[in-house]
């Protein structure tokens, strides 16, 4: 009887064992290993040496680190508001019962499922200084000679923001759309009877009712923007002259091009801390503006 009872007690843990083992091996183990790596100097080929906080202090005193840090922050500051507002606008636009609207929704979602390589190729052409669509339109419509977007230290980062926003638009739009369709229609009917216009309904019904969705999208967009890598890798490789070098890309460079695995691990934890603090702040602030009614 006792044996059966103790087996019953253990039974759930046995079912959980594969997951726990997987988590320990591939997540917790890797996290612990990389954290310890951030306190070591490891060139990948020879044995690592324990250097305590050397990697962190080196980064603190490095001009490059601060340039990359500000690049990343600039990217986030530009990409997040643009991405959230544009996807909300798009969601409002496709939240109608028009015939064929599904086609538009699918079209807007396409960039999310497209290969980044293909996307980069198209955008490289659009941004090309000589043969690009953007500069062609600028020349034909406004008689202006556009800059060399991806090759200019001033314009490369904003250009990368545009690609990122365009690519993530569909994903956030779908979530906003789901949020919009969950807002009870009675609220709008009541507001209409009370004489509220489109703007007041948007301001006093849509935005508050959508705030949990907006909060979710904000958190996700912030995290994704801090971690931007693919776009840097395929569009600019961090150039020109480090103008688009972001933290994730520097981590990749340090680890797999410059043989500094320890420094790369330290950078990863700085990035983690940054994301953690920003997310924590968002959770603190959300109490003031997110309405879960």
């Amino acid at each position: 009887m006792n044996r059966i009872r103790s087996f019953r007690t253990l039974e759930p843990y046995l079912y959980l064992l594969p997951t726990i083992a997987g988590l320990i091996l591939f997540s917790a183990g890797a996290v612990a290993a990389s954290f310890s790596m951030s306190f070591s100097r490891w060139d990948i080929v020879t044995s690592p040496q324990w250097v305590w906080f050397d990697n962190y202090t080196q980064l603190w005193h490095s001009d490059l680190f601060w340039q990359v840090f500000w690049n990343t922050l600039t990217f986030v500051v530009l990409a997040v508001p643009l991405s959230v507002s544009a996807s909300l606008a798009l969601a409002l636009l496709v939240n109608t019962r028009l015939r064929g609207i599904t086609l538009f929704r699918t079209a807007y979602f396409m960039p999310v499922v497209s290969s980044m390589i293909a996307v980069a190729l198209v955008w490289s052409w659009i941004f090309n200084a000589d043969y690009g669509l953007l500069n062609y339109l600028l020349r034909v419509l406004f008689g202006v000679r556009g800059p060399a977007w991806l090759d200019s230290t001033a314009w490369a980062l904003p250009a990368m923001v545009v690609v990122t926003v365009w690519r993530g638009l569909g994903y956030s739009m779908v979530i906003f759309l789901a949020g919009l369709q969950n807002i009870p229609q009675e609220l709008y009917h009541a507001a209409t009877i009370d004489g509220a216009g489109v703007w007041r309904k948007f301001r006093h019904i849509t935005l508050p009712m959508l705030s949990p969705t907006t909060f979710f999208i904000l958190v996700i967009t912030f995290i994704n923007s801090f971690q931007v890598f693919e776009q840097t890798y395929v569009l600019t490789k961090g150039g020109p002259a480090n103008a688009t070098l972001t933290l994730s890309y520097l981590i990749y460079q340090d680890a797999f091009q410059f043989f500094q695995m320890g420094k790369a691990a330290a950078l990863s934890y700085i990035l983690f801390a940054l994301i953690f603090v920003v997310t924590l702040m968002q959770f603190r602030i959300q109490r003031r503006w997110v309405f879960y009614g």
Binding site: G29, I44, V45, P48, A129, A241, L245, Q257
Partner: protein
């Protein structure tokens, strides 16, 4: 403490120690299975390089005959696209695995592996099997490592590239200008470059540039050293940008962009080959390996020596690629045999494909008509002369880091005129030295 807690604590403790972490990672990877490397009486070699598009040629024309001549040895060819070869090599090394018995590497990557004592010293094999003068052995310099000991060689150079002046024949014909030749000085380059810089729209921004100048390394270093300057001190441990001859050479480079205005900062730094292929620049001073970019284009082009200084001095930055045998190869003797086979027995008609715009280090190959006259036919013979008379290498550990993330951004500011040459020399020197100090310290 429960068994679970004890196990978790043990794994955590293990993970927190670097060696433990490596063992932990290795254990995990080993548990994923592994390749059985040697069957009874059979030696199995792995060859790793990035010449993916020629995979079939390698298998059919080099490896098959090698295996036929060496019964009992089988060779597996592993390839990856060129941009990924460093990452693939490093992840493989990091996992403690066996990357290959013979691997191909560029000189900058080779320095890192040499410094970290990853490669086997090939000098005993060279002394035993290679006849003096059979190869262009001055290229051994960059594969001896920074210590430069005569009895050490950690990679056997297979091919080399040189900095040359590529030119677009069509644009020269349009301007009724004679093609650049080996008599050219930098004054000629500026004179003709001005004629080839054309502002069709008269908006102050030329639509065609006379020159694209590789400011990242080949062009920059070639001009610096030709004009008597130098990037690094003789022992390659420090930057030497603030020496008067170097400053003078740097002023000359800045003038190409700011005063003479024959080169554009964008085309020179970012869209180097694209601008030449798109006929936006008439000449390009860059490494000969770039000829690979011209394959399949309809451009009429050729190459010549980089110009000389007014005192007749001429230099060309050299870079080599070599085969290395990792120290942990269980079959170094067979790997060496394969290396020799590749370098000396490759069918001549394949050599130009194999090394594209580069020159083989095997002397008989460079004298063969098959290499000299393989399409696209251009002045290949000049590479041989250039290598013998004027080439110089430049290598340090941490090269890619100090070049990409430290020198290049500073160079850009200088050629854009946002920084004076003196300020550039001070700032870039400081940044380069910081990387070099660390890279040498890590030895």
């Amino acid at each position: 403490m429960s068994t679970f807690q004890r196990t978790a604590a043990a794994i955590l403790a293990l993970s927190l120690h670097p060696r433990g972490a490596a063992a932990f990672l290795l254990l995990a990877l080993l548990s994923c299975g592994g390749e059985k490397r040697k069957t009874e009486g059979q030696v199995s070699l792995t060859l790793y390089h990035w010449m993916e598009k020629d995979r079939k040629l390698w298998e059919e024309q080099i490896l098959k005959p090698f295996q036929a001549a060496h019964p009992g040895v089988t060779v597996t060819l592993q390839t990856s696209p060129y941009p990924l070869y460093v990452t693939k090599s490093l992840t493989s090394i990091a996992s403690g695995g066996h990357l290959a018995d013979l691997m191909f590497a560029e000189d900058w990557f080779g320095q890192e592996l040499i410094q970290k004592q990853y490669a086997l010293n090939l000098m005993p094999y060279v002394r035993r099997d290679i006849a003096p003068g059979e190869f262009y052995d001055e290229t051994f310099t960059e594969w001896r490592g920074v210590a430069q000991r005569e009895d050490e060689l950690y990679g056997f150079p297979a091919c080399l590239g040189l900095t040359v002046l590529f030119y677009n024949k069509e644009l020269f014909d349009r301007g009724a200008l004679s093609y650049p030749d080996t008599t050219w000085t930098y004054d000629d380059l500026i004179r003709v470059g001005k004629k080839l810089t054309i502002d069709q729209h008269a908006d102050g921004i030329p639509d065609q540039w006379g020159l694209t100048f590789d400011v990242q390394y080949t062009g920059l270093e070639t001009v610096l050293y030709t004009l008597g300057g130098r990037l690094l001190t003789a022992d390659s441990r420090h930057a030497s940008l603030q020496e008067p001859p170097t400053l003078k050479a740097l002023h000359f480079i800045q003038d190409l962009f700011q005063k003479e205005r024959i080169a554009s900062t964008t085309t020179s730094l970012v869209t180097t080959w694209q601008s030449f292929i798109a006929q936006r620049s008439a000449m390009i001073l860059i490494g000969s390996h770039g000829a690979i970019n011209l394959e399949g284009t309809s451009l009429r082009w050729d190459l010549t020596y980089p110009p000389k200084a007014s005192d007749g001095r001429r230099m060309s930055r050299r870079f080599t690629m070599a085969f290395m045998i990792p120290k942990n190869s269980p079959h170094p003797e067979e790997a060496w045999e394969l290396l020799r086979w590749i370098l000396t027995k490759s069918p001549p008609e394949q050599i130009s494909t194999q090394y594209s715009g580069m020159m083989p280090t095997y002397r008989p190959a460079t004298a063969s008509g098959a290499w000299l006259n393989t399409p696209p036919v251009h002045n290949r013979h000049l590479l041989v002369e250039l290598e013998k008379g004027y080439s110089f290498p430049l290598f340090t550990p941490g090269w890619q880091e100090w070049r990409d993330n430290n020198l290049t951004p500073e160079i850009l500011q200088m050629i854009q005129g946002k920084k004076s040459v003196e300020q550039f020399a001070a700032d870039a020197g400081r940044r380069i030295n910081a990387v070099l100090d660390r890279a040498y310290q890590a030895r």
